[in-house]
């Protein structure tokens, strides 16, 4: 798992950065995006569907920021 800190950045930037860094993890591994823009809750799962990756759910960082986990599929 690798973390991707997108605190303070508004969509589409978290999605653009996710697209840029998905190749940093191996197939089957997870990239965890911390993003406080509420739009990310819709856009990150939607990006996963568009790109054929698995959206692996939302957790919370110690500071309360939502963390969206994406499992690379291709």
């Amino acid at each position: 798992m690798i973390p991707l800190d997108q605190r303070g950045r508004r969509c589409p930037l978290p999605v653009i950065e996710l697209a840029r860094h998905i190749g940093d993890v191996g197939i089957g591994e997870i990239i965890a995006v911390a993003a406080d823009d509420p739009a990310a809750r819709l856009d990150i799962p939607a990006w996963c569907r568009m790109r054929g990756h698995d959206y692996a759910g939302e957790t919370e960082a110690p500071d309360g920021t939502p963390v969206y986990s994406v499992r690379r599929r291709t």
Partner: protein, 275 residues
């Protein structure tokens, strides 16, 4: 004039598709985005749809959003892009459409949300009525086979990384597009060297795309040959014309398509909202 937000996708399609088909090239993108959600090619999750009711109650414009993309719109009457920004949901990241609609929408949305509208890409929509055959090159066009989903996913992933464009690269959509016969390759000596896809016809005008040649196979005329052969196939199959997009910043593509007989019809802009 008032925007009407529609939550039933099938009802929305039945209402707006006949209107979109009146201008099959100009409205090619919103029409095919809608059609591929209605025919099951792409799962219609969280799609937002609206149409603009004119003074007589007739449709005067169309706007829809398929996350994570931005707002997609047709040409709009003066002032309607700003009223669209007022009814749009929070968190819209971008907008696409003919000038000045997409830019007007983003400026109005930015004023509402405290952001900044930035032009990301400017393209032209082209239309071909009569094909001018390109110089002959080795190889032949054939539909992609069911066991080539992996190749298609790999090429689309490379294409999206190179172009920074937002389109489907997953295996499920790739498999459905191949099964529909809408993904072709140019093959030389048994090896696929160039991809040409096409979208369902709007009226009787299908739109070519994606077109992708991996870097190691470029500058040999394969994309021109494959695009021409695909146009031939579509025109022989009942299409009255063929549409496609080319980025103004890609003179190679513009040159190839212009030589085949494509003529620009309208500009199309992609705007981003920055904060």
């Amino acid at each position: 004039m008032q925007w009407v937000v529609e939550t039933d996708l099938a009802a929305y399609g039945g209402r707006v598709l006949p209107w979109l088909e009146r201008e099959p090239v100009r409205n090619s993108v919103p029409a095919t985005v809608l059609m591929t959600r209605l025919d099951g090619t792409i799962d219609p999750v969280d799609v937002w749809t609206a149409w603009l009711a004119g003074p007589d109650g007739e449709i005067a414009g169309v706007a829809l959003r398929t996350p994570p993309r931005g707002m997609l719109m047709t040409a709009l009457p003066a002032g309607a892009a700003a009223t669209l920004a007022a009814v749009a949901t929070d968190g819209i990241p971008a907008a696409s459409g003919p000038p000045p609609s997409a830019g007007d929408f983003c400026r109005a949305y930015a004023a509402r949300t405290g952001g900044r509208a930035v032009l990301e890409r400017s393209e032209q929509l082209y239309r071909l009525d009569v094909l001018v055959p390109p110089p002959a090159v080795p190889g032949r066009l054939r539909p992609m086979a069911a066991d080539e989903v992996g190749l298609l996913v790999r090429w689309l992933t490379e294409f999206s990384a190179e172009s920074h464009a937002m389109f489907e690269t997953g295996a499920d959509v790739a498999a459905r597009s191949i099964a529909q016969g809408r993904r072709m390759v140019w093959e030389v000596g048994g090896q696929p060297v160039c991809l040409v896809g096409f979208n369902p016809p709007v009226g009787r005008v299908p739109r070519i795309g994606p077109v992708w040649t991996p870097p190691e196979h470029r500058r040999r005329g394969y994309a021109a040959a494959a695009t021409a052969a695909t146009c031939r196939l579509l025109l022989d199959g009942g299409a009255v014309a063929v549409a496609l997009f080319a980025d103004d910043a890609n003179p190679t593509a513009v040159g190839v398509y212009t030589r085949l007989g494509f003529r620009p019809v309208t500009a199309q802009e992609d705007w981003l909202l920055e904060y």
